[in-house]
Amino acid sequence: MLFNSLDFLIFFLSVFVVYWTIPCRARWIILLICSYFFYAYWNPLYVFLLFASTLIDYIFGLYFTSSNNSWKQRVGLIVSLSLNLGMLFSFKYYNFFADGINVLFTGLFNHKVVPNFSILLPVGISFYTFQSISYAIDVYKKQIPAERNLGKFALYLSFFPQLVAGPIERAKDLLPQINTANKTLSYDLFKSGLKYVLWGLFMKVVVADNLATLVDSKFELLSSRTGGEMLFAMILFTFQLYCDFNGYSRMAVGLAKLLGYDLLINFNYPFVSSSFTEFWRKWHISLSRWFRDYIYHPLGGSKKNLGITIRNTAIVFIVSGLWHGATINFLLWGVMCGVLMIIEILIKNYFLQHIYLPARLKFLGIPFVFSLFVLTLVPFRSNDLNDSLLIFEKIADCSFNELYFWFADNRFSPGLLGLYILIFIEIWFGLKLNSSWNIKNRISESAFYTVIFFMILLLGKDTGSQFIYFQF
């Protein structure tokens, strides 16, 4: 069930009405049932997988609390991590590694040694596995108490607005909200939730889905495209990806608000970043924080010497690449992002330390960071490594034939129209560094959202296309 489908609208309206009419004590039960129904709607069998993941960390959470023996606790943590990562590996990475091993052995012994399985990737497995790992580690480190109610813990992992594509919530943020029974739906909360949903839907169905049509048309018959066309297609893809994922995240935040929950804002105007450090603080925030807290800092972070910092950065970005998908392309994407980040660290350490750069000149870095990020997305979007190399080759050619005519034909296409509005709004709010919607005037606020509503109605793609991040 996709957020941009009528099925979901009917589902959510029913949940909303039932949720706010039943007694407070029973609300989490309704949410749990609905969350499992939401997941089962996609594939009923994989509900067992979600439950297994829940059960593992619920048991280990209690175990960490009850046991005082630190050695046993450590073994418990290793077992918990192994089970969680084992499930993720089996469904997401098995074939990737099997292919790698087979390539190696086919060269040596001329036959495959590891069988491949055609397994359907459980939607959202990377998200809820990371969420469940963070819970286990936090309980192990005594940062939070273990949740004793299995149902409430199950809701923490399966809360439907953020189940399939995040934000990856921490137990310390979400579990207390689940345990707070007396929630009330205020008019302001309702309005704020609705705004998030509306703006997220606009980003998804007007901008992302319409840009997808333009981008996909350029990725068909790739060999006959010019470098200019591919460069422009990649710029559009960058916005498509941003709007697709940020649209989903905003809808998730809005839907949760309508149910009285606060979720993490996943994007904070990332394209208004003058450095990669700043960019990764603003792009997919919940995942960046996860990597920071559970990989980067435990490895030593940037507190030790420069070599360790570079090593840790490289590890985080390689893992991040693989997290996105078990393909060489995602690995390459991670490596490229890591290399850019390391170059930035080196520049900061060796050059910028001795040069004073006025804050007002920092905006010069914005187009630089954006352009390089666009290039890193080439392997992210391409079907395979050959296509990635072909696109890089074409972009390097710098032949801009046909680009002008293509742009002239499409400059008022729905995707680009939506993008103009989006860029205007993003720059408006981004430059003010203000992530909240503070349109003071009631009339202009109502007019703004009415325009957005009709843009969705008139320009929105109504084919119910999937969100890009669902595949991860």
Binding site: D7, Y187, S224, P414, T450, F454, L457, D462, T463
Partner: protein, 322 residues
């Protein structure tokens, strides 16, 4: 407090429906006036014109770019749309029947052989959504769009939704001064240096396609079309254009089409099968699906020849079923 909130909600609802009414009315006005190719203007112009045609061709871009109606005769026209397939063709025919604008003698429908498989049905239904303006005005279009889902009709609570998607060009195209004009629905593709590359890559992509299960609803739509033509007392002919390469699913699709057409007494000319060798020649192709302009004219002459043969009922030849 609550009273103020309720009042606010009522006001917003009224504002939305009021705006919807205004937008819907304005777009209706623009839609009815539009006679350009975009946003269904060509179909609109055809429905409103008084000109009478003997033959009408409907199909996808393979008709737009490969059949030159002017070479087929004086009173021949083309209402094809790029990327629109069989269900769209049936919808257009149904609409023409409703508006009494079907041709006097022959309706030629180009069919793509992947359309007979269930795997493509969702896309066929999506094609009909291009005609959402006629939702509620034409039964066939309404029922086909409703097949998208049980809640589909809810979207039409808003009258502006009928102008969702392509119809927004009614506002933006005048800004660009774009009004595609064609030679009677013919958009020839001029030879270029990238043709060979496009053909090769297209063939690679085509070879990946696998369709296996026959669409059980497909023949119902053929029967519907046949009934329309019978009521209008005109001849219905299905054609399938030539292909550079004929994948397995096309061979299977050809057998299915043969069977359905035979059963319902409809003529079907498969140029892909009839002239397999003649079109297996790289310089004829713009890409893996479309002939270039020179080859298109030659193909049109072949179509003309085959249509002539069809008029002689005793003639029997390969690839055609009477």
């Amino acid at each position: 407090m609550i009273r103020s909130y309720v009042l606010h909600i009522i006001l917003i609802t009224a504002l939305i429906f009021g705006c919807d009414y205004l937008i819907g009315t304005y777009f209706s006005f623009r839609f009815e006036k539009n006679t350009c190719e975009h946003a269904g203007g060509d179909l609109n112009a055809f429905l409103k014109s008084d000109e009478v045609y003997d033959t009408l061709i409907i199909g996808s871009s393979r008709v737009n770019t490969m059949i030159n109606p002017n070479l087929l005769g004086n009173k021949v026209t083309n209402l094809s749309k790029p990327a629109k397939h069989f269900y769209y063709s049936v919808s257009v025919a149904d609409l023409l029947y409703q508006y009494r604008r079907l041709p006097k003698k022959t309706l030629i429908v180009n069919i793509e052989l992947e359309d007979v498989f269930i795997e493509t049905e969702e896309r066929l239904i999506e094609d009909v959504c291009y005609l959402k303006y006629y939702y509620g005005k034409n039964d066939f279009i309404t029922s086909t769009i409703n097949e998208r889902g049980i809640f589909e009709r809810l979207k039409f609570i808003f009258s502006s939704y009928r102008f969702n998607g392509e119809n927004f060009k009614l506002l933006t195209n005048p800004l660009q001064d774009i009004c595609d004009k064609s030679e009677n629905g013919f958009f020839p593709l001029i030879k270029g240096k990238n043709d060979k590359k496009r053909l090769k890559q297209g063939l690679l992509e085509m070879k990946k396609l696998h369709y296996t299960i026959e669409n059980p609803h497909f023949d119902q739509n053929i029967i519907h079309l046949k009934k329309l033509c019978d009521k209008a007392r005109i001849q219905l002919i299905f054609i399938h254009g030539p292909n550079y390469f004929i994948p397995e699913y096309m061979q299977k699709g050809d057998l299915i089409m043969d069977r359905i057409c035979k059963k319902n007494g409809i003529s079907f000319i498969n140029f892909s099968k009839l002239y397999a060798n003649e079109f297996h020649f790289e310089p004829l192709w713009y890409d893996h699906l479309h002939l270039n302009s020179d080859a298109a004219n030659n193909y049109t002459l072949l179509v003309k020849e085959e249509l002539k043969k069809l008029k002689k009922p005793a003639t029997k030849y390969r690839g055609i079923i009477h």
